[in-house]
Amino acid sequence: MITTKLLPELWLLATISALFVASVSGRKRSVLSWLPVAAIIGVVITALSLGVRGEILFGAYRLDGLSQFFKLAIAAGFAIVAGIGAGKRDSEDFSPDYFMLLGISAWGLMLLASSVELITLYLALELSSYSLYALIPIRGKDRRAAEAGIKYIMFGSAVTAAALFGLSYIMAAKHTTYLAALASSSWSFSSAPLAVIGLTLFLAGFFYKLALFPFHFWCPDVYQGAKNETAAYVATIPKLGAVVVLVRLAALFTHGMEVTNLFAVLGALSMTGGNLAALVQRDLKRLLGYSSVAHAGYVMLGLAAGSAAGLTAASFYSLAYILMNLACFYVVCAISKDGENPTLDDLNGLYRRGPGLAMILAVAAFALVGLPPTAGFTGKLFLLSAAWDQGYHWFVIVAVLNTAISIYYYLGMVRHAYTGQSEAPALTVSKGYIAFGGVLAMVVLLVGILPAPLYDLAARAAAALHP
């Protein structure tokens, strides 16, 4: 039955419809009470349908291990963002439309995870982007948000145009848009120059989503301008969509191809540039923006390796990344006064004002550094060993040296939270909010201590791409 196979997508669609009904009816406030529950049910449903396999729409839409793995990650991310939003009941911006747009974006990403045909991919990507174009400017009457929204649209449309242009080259050179058919042909520059150029352009669309250097310029500005909760979403879940497509495309290449080397070079530039720029940031969201540029570079370790282990590592790391980044944003959202952008100095004395939040922040920051025993460490270890095994020794060394650079600003957050002095009053955060964040931090630790089940899941997904 197709209906049961598509249950995760359908459930999210039903949630979106309910949000739509709520937005046109008068009962706007009650949404916040049922939405987190609905989102968590969505996570359960997605987890239950992990084993679903199948193909519909003439092979354009495939349910395989990879798509189900990423759908789980997307559903979990959506649930967390909904949980963050539900903690802020007094804000005017959290109308049902806001969550509806979030939901549509997540829904588009779920479709993206299953698309195995280039035009379907493109449509799913646009579906997830359009609602973000509308979401980012929503921040009361804030001008910065409008600026961020314009930047995102301008950048996004330019890159999308490039991607479409590239798509036309691929179609012209290969006469097919199905990934399975594309995989069986050669992708070296000497034998198919037109297709490789086309693919490189097409990839740009996803590099943009991932905020990989040199497509990252929107990232810090948009995070800074957008609402904290929107930034938490934009920083995490759309990256999953980009990674899943890149994982599917990376399986096309063999070691040492031009595109693979492009991955490696861009990855190295991205992590170095992102980390160096993050060192001087004071605004927490800008800092996290540059940090996400650096993390996009780390994911490239696995994609450049291109082996089953590399793709597994990239999938695993992107899941670990959204967990730890969301944990970080969770604290950012909690400490901001009236939805303002918190700076590093706002973290001062957090261990006195909100010990629970300080603990969550410490776990998240050390996970983003890649310190054991957190998910960030295991993820990075998998990436490094995959890249080293494929001979990208220089890339691995660049990556570990970048860890040394990045420690300074992540530690800066912890330092402000634990050793900074502040006269500010204690934060009033509800117990439920702290508990939710605590669970998130525990998951980050747990995935770091016992990564085997999740890794095996990702490995089974990646193995299917490498028959």
């Binding site: 063999t254 089953a308 310190l371 270890l381 490094l384 095994d389 691995v396 300074y408």
Partner: protein, 523 residues
């Protein structure tokens, strides 16, 4: 799970403090927190009694436990002890209750978090010494940074922010390349398991790179001469218990790393690098001693003396002789006991005078005789007075040094003399100097303080007078390391008369080539 003994003693040693830390979060009374941590500390020591069943001539690794962790990558939860690590684990377990006792009144704020950090430190440190899986080792090695950072940053002195971040950045930056080396060893060695990696031999070129990556991490941790600047800052600002843990256990991880990984995994590179390492060790000894001579801050003085003492340890290691290495291991243990004791005493002194300057703590001999007796004891041990523990270690290292080359011996001896100079200067001022800020309210040692220091004082004499027990336990393991080194180097055809350039082209014994199974996986 494979185990030689039915009871997983190492796992219990690691996880008992962790579980206690979890329980601690729900305790409300301050006294209960201290008591709970104390009880855990005593339990750890009692558990350690089981480790005395270690048989020196038995299997290479004993008390082995092994469970799959991430089978897909060959990572396992693999623990075990040999002569190199046995005493380090014992020392770590001993330090926990002493640190709790020593901080009973010293730490009066954020008591829960303090003991939480102490417990986490203990688990991580025991883990570092017991891990037989390279990744597991790295996990513990890095995990220990966070509680140590917090110990300095939250409970430290006035410049704690600077000192703690310097400590963290230095040690983390050093160990990032270690991670690359670990990943590289998996590719060429096919496993993360240390015993399996030890059996293989690697090409010379690979050894050099791996050695550099590992040695950097370990040298910063020791710390060896050019990388030592984080240590005085961290020691001065850390609370007493933090300094004790730092001196007694953390520094030992670096030298332990040299012994466990550099020597047997990269034997040829170690031989090539030995002159440099020996030169740096001697530089540490003399530099540490000279700088210590000029300090007015007691803690700084002891911190620089640590640099010198650890120089003796690295010197002993890179002499590649049984006496040198057994001296080094004894010296690791001794430095932990002696310097741990000294830092504890400085902490007690600080509680009275609220100053660490020598000037403010002068003339205590008449008023605090018991205190001065113990301070004198540890100071004499620190300058390696015959009859105390450090004498045995230092003399073994020096014997090894003279065996290696007379020049090395001659250069190392002034270090021993410098130690006498700066320790006696400290002792003389504190005992007989004109009192400047002494108040009659400064009490002599209380029973709790006696209990903190007495175990260490007993060990000073015990190891000093009867060192053969310890030496007998560690020697077989050292011989194993040295024979591994020699046989690997012999098999690779490395001898003194070959030039570096020639060695670079030497083939390895069993290095898997590009077509090896682990490399098979291709897209």
């Amino acid at each position: 799970m494979t185990m030689q003994f039915g009871f997983p003693v190492l796992t219990t040693l690691i996880f008992l403090p962790l579980m206690a830390a979890g329980v601690l979060l729900f305790v409300r009374q301050e006294r209960t927190m201290r008591l709970l941590t104390m009880v855990v500390g005593v339990l750890e020591c009692l558990l350690c009694l089981r480790l005395f069943s270690y048989s020196p001539h038995g299997a290479a690794f004993q008390f082995v436990e092994k469970v799959n962790w991430v089978p897909a990558l060959g990572m396992s939860y693999h623990l075990g002890l040999d002569g190199l690590s046995l005493y380090m684990v014992l020392l770590t377990a001993l330090m926990l209750p002493l640190c709790v006792l020593g901080s009973w009144t010293y730490i009066s704020t954020r008591i829960k978090e303090f003991h939480f950090c102490l417990l986490l430190m203990t688990s991580a440190c025991i883990g570092v010494f017991a891990a037989l899986d390279f990744v597991l080792f790295y996990v513990f090695w890095e995990a220990m940074l966070v509680p140590m950072y917090l110990l300095i940053a939250v409970w430290g002195g006035p410049r704690r922010r600077y000192a703690s971040i310097k400590f963290f950045l230095y040690t983390l930056a050093g160990s990032t390349l270690l991670l690359a080396a670990i990943v590289a060893f998996r590719q060429v060695g096919g496993s993360f398991s240390i015993p399996e990696l030890l059996e293989k031999s690697y090409s010379f070129k690979f050894q050099i790179w791996a050695f550099v990556a590992m040695a950097l991490a370990f040298a910063i941790k020791v710390p060896m001469f050019p990388f030592h600047t984080w240590l005085p800052a961290a020691h001065v600002e850390a609370p007493a218990a933090g300094s004790v843990l730092l001196a007694a256990i953390l520094l030992k991880m670096g030298t332990y790393g040299f012994l466990r990984f550099c020597l047997p995994l990269t034997p040829a590179a170690s031989v090539v690098a030995a002159p440099v390492m020996i030169a740096l060790s001697i530089a540490s000894i003399i530099y540490g001693g000279c700088i210590a001579l000029g300090q007015t801050d007691i803690k700084k003085l002891i911190a620089y003396s640590s640099v010198g003492h650890m120089g003796f340890v690295t010197l002993g290691i890179f002499l590649f002789s049984v006496s040198g290495i057994s001296g080094a291991i004894l010296q690791m243990l001794n430095h932990g006991i002696t310097t741990g004791g000294l830092f504890m005493m400085v902490g007690l002194l600080y509680e009275r005078s609220h100053s660490r300057e020598i000037l403010d703590n002068q003339g205590l001999g008449k008023h605090m005789p018991a205190f001065m007796f113990l301070l004198g004891l540890f100071s004499f041990s620190s300058l390696a007075f015959p009859g105390t523990n450090s004498f045995v270690g230092e003399i073994l290292v020096l014997v090894g040094a003279f065996k290696g080359s007379v020049w090395i011996g001659f250069l190392a001896v002034p270090g021993a003399m410098l130690a006498a100079a700066y320790m006696l200067r400290l002792l003389q001022r504190v005992t007989w100097g004109a009192p400047t800020s002494f108040k009659p309210s400064w009490w002599d040692l209380k029973p709790r303080e006696w209990a903190t220091l007495l175990p260490l004082a007993v060990l000073v004499f015990y190891i000093g007078l009867a060192p053969s027990l310890a030496i007998k336990t560690i020697e077989p393991s050292i011989e194993r390391v040295l024979t591994t080194m020699k046989s690997k180097n012999m098999a690779m055809g490395i001898s003194e008369d070959r030039h570096l350039a020639q060695r670079l082209h030497l083939p390895a014994l069993t290095v898997p080539g590009d077509r090896d199974p682990i490399q098979k996986e291709r897209p």
